[in-house]
Amino acid sequence: MRNISYKQISDAVYEMAVSSIYDLDDKMIRSLKSGLINEEDFLSKTVLKEIIENSDIARTNRIPICQDTGIVVCFLEVGNEVHFDFLIDDAINDGIKRAYIDERFRMSVVRHPLDRVNTRTNTPCIIHTRFVLGDRVKITICPKGAGSENLSSFKMLVPTSGIDGVKNTIIDAVKNAGGRVCPPMIVGVGIGGNFEESAILSKMALIRDLDDRADDEIARKLEVELLEEINKLNIGPMGVGGKTTAIAVKVNVGPCHIASLPVSVNFQCHASRHKEMII
């Protein structure tokens, strides 16, 4: 058994939260720059230029990339040989609370969906935990803004809908979201599982490395085809038209019931903020 301390977890989460809020992923910046080369119209070019310039200003001056510093989603992979003498969720929430208070990020979490009282700590985080073999803990944190999250969609298709049915569902979700999700976006898709599992698959798709490809052959093909189709929709940066609607489409699949074909689509705006650390 390997002991991991509360402080190790809390400090790791703190550090990841702070850097993700100020430093846009270099791969995202690179993708935005290649989008800029592709665009032809004044407005779509201007939007991309401003987004790229904003990432420089945020990094240099330590101003949050976006004022929506998000509700924090956290994925944990806990090795079976790790021991904690505390509740790991407490250590994660502690790291987020300290980071958001110290850095004066926006507190965007309310304690109850209907009384809407702000917790003023930006916690609790939304934490998904699974167990793996080994003596390590992998923590991924993702401060997720609501502009893109609000346009997410879920649809239960009939199993005979097949690939075309799935593709149409995803394209419809993108059309409906349009300029409201702050494109250029990343489209996270979860196919399979059940009601809640498909949503988690779509969220996990969003935190994959921007350059990776799905392991599953059918998912990989869908990623390529969907990206091409989405970028032909002429939604463009911030919805003003253009070729750079999506930076990537990530498809995660999972086993499901013989009668079900769940499809979830979760969106991530260009301010894609996530970090991971292995302790």
Partner: protein
């Protein structure tokens, strides 16, 4: 093109959907929670914390000011405020992001309430255009309070113009 706030009717005639303009003057922040409270006050004929006549409303919930430096202050998604607009026909213009309902296109056309779009996710850059920021109402709402902003050369795209045109594809 540089434009002063509030935008004069003569100037609105020159603005077309898709124009990239730079705003200078006063704007007031308000988003979901502040709208809900303002509309309740209006419906109950109670005194408002600010005169809404001819004001520019900016849909944003900024990060806090740090050591005098304005926080990140980009636009939030505008369609969430659409349902409130029928009570706000006295204002000058709104700033947010993303497409809105037909009703807002009609308000631009029939009531000259322009809808301007600031680029979403560039709150760090936009903070440099804000020269002062003072809370004037609903301070308990934190980032959702109403702040009075003085801005210089604040960049926006004309999203819905007074001719019924939209920038969105």
């Amino acid at each position: 093109m540089k434009v002063s706030l509030p935008i004069a009717n003569e100037v609105k005639k020159d603005l077309k959907a898709g124009d990239y303009i730079y705003l200078t003057g006063t704007m007031y922040t308000a988003r979901d929670a502040a709208h809900k409270r303002l509309i309740e006050l209006i419906l109950n004929n109670e005194k408002l914390p600010l005169d809404l006549n001819n004001v520019c409303i900016y849909y944003t919930g900024p990060t806090p000011t740090v050591n005098g430096r304005i926080g990140s202050i980009g636009p939030t998604t505008a369609y969430r405020m659409d349902g409130f607009m029928k009570h706000l026909k006295m204002i000058n213009c709104t700033i947010g992001k993303g497409p809105r309902s037909e009703e807002i296109i009609d308000l631009a056309k029939n009531n000259q309430i322009l809808y301007l779009m600031a680029i979403g996710g560039i709150g760090a850059k936009l903070s440099l255009c804000v020269k002062s920021m003072d809370v004037i109402a609903f301070e308990d709402l934190g980032a959702e309070a109403i702040f009075k902003l003085e801005v210089v050369d604040f960049p926006v795209i004309v999203a819905y113009d007074i001719y019924g045109n939209s920038v969105f594809k």
